[in-house]
Symmetry: C2
Subunit: 310 residues, 2 copies
Amino acid sequence: MIFALGIDLGGTDIKGAIVSSDGEILRQDRVATEASNGADAVADRIVSLATDLLDSQGASPTEATGLGIGVPGVTRADGTVVLAPNLDWHHVPFKSKLQQRLPGMRVEIDNDANLAALAEARAGIGAGCDTLVLLTLGTGIGGGVVIDGSIHHGASHSAGEVGHMTVLPGGPLCGCGKRGCLEALSATSGMLDHARQSLEAGEKSTLSDVGPLTPKAICDAAHKGDRVATKTIDHVTNYIGIAVANLLNVLSPDVVAIGGGISAAGDLLLNPIVASARTHTLEGLFESTTIGLAELGNDAGSIGGAYLVL
Amino acid sequence: MIFALGIDLGGTDIKGAIVSSDGEILRQDRVATEASNGADAVADRIVSLATDLLDSQGASPTEATGLGIGVPGVTRADGTVVLAPNLDWHHVPFKSKLQQRLPGMRVEIDNDANLAALAEARAGIGAGCDTLVLLTLGTGIGGGVVIDGSIHHGASHSAGEVGHMTVLPGGPLCGCGKRGCLEALSATSGMLDHARQSLEAGEKSTLSDVGPLTPKAICDAAHKGDRVATKTIDHVTNYIGIAVANLLNVLSPDVVAIGGGISAAGDLLLNPIVASARTHTLEGLFESTTIGLAELGNDAGSIGGAYLVL
């Protein structure tokens, strides 16, 4: 059987999996990242996790086609992690650290959102498709672009910044310093800001009675027909739909996948996103693309890592 | 020497060229399209033009690697022209018409803006690059996307509709029926509308004294410092820059090429487009892309046609 090791390196946990060539997880485990001990210690923990997974599967390292790792940050083609804020890493040659520890094994490294996109294109909602764009909705909006079955890195090696498309010129300030980015309007803080403004304007809402305002509280209230919550969902999804439409107009992908924590709200978000995308896409281009929820959830990173080397 | 035939089929003229494998035009000629005589007559005229070009070059049909044609409309992968308004064609199986007339020769067909993008990526401003996006500014805004050296068609076979990216939600109505498309804001009519509104609001301008308002008149007046003309250029280029920035954020292409009739104004348009793109692109992604004027002008279509089969 052909299989590979996929590693999803996060700020808190390292998730590892043995993944078959058809994207099935044969075995998985996780260990704490302990990033404060430095990149060499993290590399040691990854190697130990990988070795344990192989042992428990009764496999030797030479049987795996390789090991692919997703990191939460900016990577370069040479395997350097340029910046990973959650790990406090700056210009860490992480691929070479792992190669030193795993002689003879193929090691590849990429951004975690890129790997999630690759996983969705190969084994998730887009299984077997050519072109897929993933948007992950959460505290930020990340994403990845897969074209002709491979991650599209572009000239900067950092393509796929769908959250920083300008969707409202002169709009709210984004954490990146620009105005009107999709992330500023439709990620967690944009969603909360919109609801809060309505409440502060004195609009009646069940949201006034809940504890701290969260995306989940807003989605729950919208499910029950609360007007402020519904307006907030409409606002947020309108701009996501505009971004999706612009991707359709330019790339006409087979699939646009919507993932990330906020996407747990399911059809409540997906339906208005699709409606807005339809409104903003040139006639003839809309019907060719499937817009749907990402399917692999928290496993997407490790599955995508494995596909880097499968 | 390796060479191919490139044909640029327009509503008025058919341009043909013999193009070497390094993108040099060895010989070229044109004939009237006479579209009113129907698609079969147009096919006959293309074959006649191609044969004359080969004769004058002293070459036989078997020496060419093939014949590639750009058409001003929507094509399908099977070589059908789904819609070409300037030719009044609907669902014309044009590739097969040409194959019947040129037995043994490889024939390929594509949208003309896609071919211009391919030509710029292979032999123009992007010569030898992987990823290029072309925007053609004129009465409409068209474009094409080249990824990894090939035209990206996407699921609909109609990717590259950069003119219909939404750059101002709720903005002016576009000919396509949507609001706030780049084309509605920054193509000829959007440019003229903006200037006209300023004049009707009573703003002083040398444009009040010229004859019919045209993009050229506005560019000429802006060159001389006219305030209404300058504001109009700023407005138009701001939105082009936003569209370019969104392409950079998502695709991080090696090159963005600006072509089409309006681009004849050169740096007057290019500089503010680049400035706006810089403002709206995520840090770290801007510097990797060259944004510049397309280089192949009216030859881009036939050179791109040749590259389809080279």
